[in-house]
């Protein structure tokens, strides 16, 4: 029986065309300064100086585009998935650093007289601003890579990251305008300022304008329940019917409990409820950090701000004959949504859930899973790495042998969805492929932010 089309599935349609359009748009914006400089072009100064200038212009353009990548703008995020954009945002920083450092380095090598501009005491302001921009960029990168080593809290890192990004972009823009070569006409300067300001505005929109809308579409806590394994279920209903948002099973949302919708730090959690009932949503949260540890104390009636849904991790976006779900710890939550949605849609495709945990006490949502496993098409297999001696079920960590014992021989159209701690996810993805599931049919979503 073909499952009923969920409202959220419409967002997957036409994805390929949107992906191509966004990629071309991004490339165009990145290289736009080079094209614009060709209008009313100033004389060249030799290949190496021209190359240095090009690197600097494109670095600044890419810096502006980083604000867009980090903005969680649905129109841009949905075709790719939030995880892909986050990875792209991180990895393109390498290119930005190469270009930003390459810009002065080429000049220094071509003419050592440029080295005098590094004397921040006597150098002209345009050079000081360039140094400031590059130093701020390197500090931004270092604090992102080594946040935990530097013992920076996530909210503190977020604030520092945003502030440094503004310094990097602002100082670089001022440097370009003060140099006045290729950007000496008034219209060129206005265009550059407007170009940079547009990207910075995206950040302002995300931090100021969107939270206002989130306040209007807020949710209210209906119940908080203990779910086993140190986890709590948070059941929410929208304050107004318009706040209910369709989502696909497997997706996640950023949520903030109480406080203010303008708070910097929202936390990502997968929906754990059926996508067929967006009027009552549920998240299952394990208490492992300062925010999550207090979930059990949240009272009914508390306001919750929800930014979502996000994510590509959903069976709705693939045509599968059956699903293999592999969950570690609280990675069970998107699987609960997938199973509940399957039930509510009357979907009879087989599904195998391999639930990895340390011991029986760590298993989450056992009552609900037992209820779902009453369906003959659902097989739930707990795999414990350190079970009690009396445990008669599967032992160890998820490996290909575990999967082969339960899965059919023909896995041609079977898709696997893996969610859990990073190491477990890597191993489980490898196990799924070793068991015979095609690499393109193994899906996971990894979200260690920083």
């Amino acid at each position: 029986m073909v499952p009923a089309a969920a409202p959220a599935r419409a967002q997957w349609e036409g994805r390929q065309a949107r992906v191509v359009a966004w990629r071309l748009g991004y490339l165009t914006l990145a290289l736009a300064p080079l094209a614009l400089c060709l209008i009313d072009l100033d004389p060249g100064r030799g290949f190496w100086v021209n190359l240095s200038v090009a690197a600097g212009f494109v670095a600044l353009s890419l810096l502006g585009l980083q604000f867009l990548l980090a903005a969680r703008w649905p129109r841009a995020t949905t075709p790719f998935g939030a995880d892909v954009l986050l990875q792209f945002h991180r990895q393109v920083t390498v290119l930005i650093v190469v270009l930003a450092l390459g810009h002065p380095t080429v000049l220094f090598v071509w003419d050592s007289r440029f080295l005098g501009l590094l004397d921040v005491v006597s150098a002209p302001m345009r050079a000081k601003l360039a140094v400031l921009s590059v130093v701020a960029l390197l500090v931004l990168v270092a604090t992102s890579i080594w946040r935990t080593t530097l013992r920076l809290s996530y909210p503190a890192w977020q604030t520092l990251h945003a502030g440094l990004a503004l310094v990097v972009a602002g100082a670089a823009l001022a440097h370009v305008i003060m140099i006045g070569y290729y950007v000496d006409q008034r219209w060129e300067q206005v265009l550059w300022i407007a170009y940079t300001a547009a990207f910075v505005w995206v950040g302002v929109y995300v931090r100021v304008v969107k939270p206002i809308g989130r306040y209007r579409r807020r949710f209210r806590v209906v119940a908080v329940t203990a779910e086993g394994g140190g986890s709590h279920g948070l059941e929410l209903e929208p304050v107004t019917p318009a706040a209910a948002r369709a989502f696909a099973p497997g997706q996640f949302a950023w949520i903030m409990v109480g406080r203010s919708p303008f708070a910097l730090t929202y936390h990502p959690f997968s929906y754990a409820s059926s996508a067929e009932h967006p009027e009552r949503v549920r998240f299952v949260i394990r208490g492992i950090g300062p925010f999550t540890a207090g979930i059990g104390d949240v009272r009914a009636g508390a306001d919750v701000y929800v930014d979502g849904p996000w994510g590509h991790f959903s069976p709705d976006r693939v045509d599968a004959s059956a699903w293999v779900l592999i969950a570690g710890g609280v990675g069970i939550t998107p699987m609960l949504s997938i199973l509940l949605t399957r039930r509510d849609r009357g979907d009879h495709r087989p599904v195998w859930l391999f639930q990895a945990a340390r011991d029986e006490e760590s298993l989450v949502a056992q009552d609900l899973l037992a209820e779902l496993a009453a369906d003959p098409g659902v097989t739930v297999v707990p795999i414990l790495s350190r079970p009690a001696a009396t445990w008669t079920g599967e032992r160890g960590r998820v490996d290909p042998d575990h999967l082969r014992r339960y899965l059919p021989a023909d896995l041609g159209e079977v898709h696997a969805f893996v969610c859990g701690p990073p190491g477990m996810t890597d191993a489980a993805c490898a196990a799924a492929q070793a068991a015979g599931i095609a690499p393109r049919a193994v899906h996971s979503e990894r979200f260690s932010m920083v």
Binding site: R23, L27, A30, L31, L34, L38, L41, D42, P43, G44, R45, G46, F47, W48, N50, L51, V53, A54, A55, V58, L62, G81, D83, V84, Q87, F88, Q91, V92, V94, L95, V98, L99, D111, R113, F114, I179, G180, Y181, D184, H312, D426, A427, C429, A430, P439, R440, V442, H443, S444, R446
Partner: protein, 53 residues
Amino acid sequence: MSSHRELRTSRAVVVFGLVVLLACIGWAILVQDVRPDACQVQPPPPNAQYLHC
């Protein structure tokens, strides 16, 4: 082990980076062809620093 999605994204970043670098090199060559070099302009542009004339 990176997922299929992660590998695809990393490849996209590498391809994008190569396109950008080639564009910068192409622009550097194009500028020299489209306009006379600053050393051939009399007087040289005042804000063109350290010219190798």
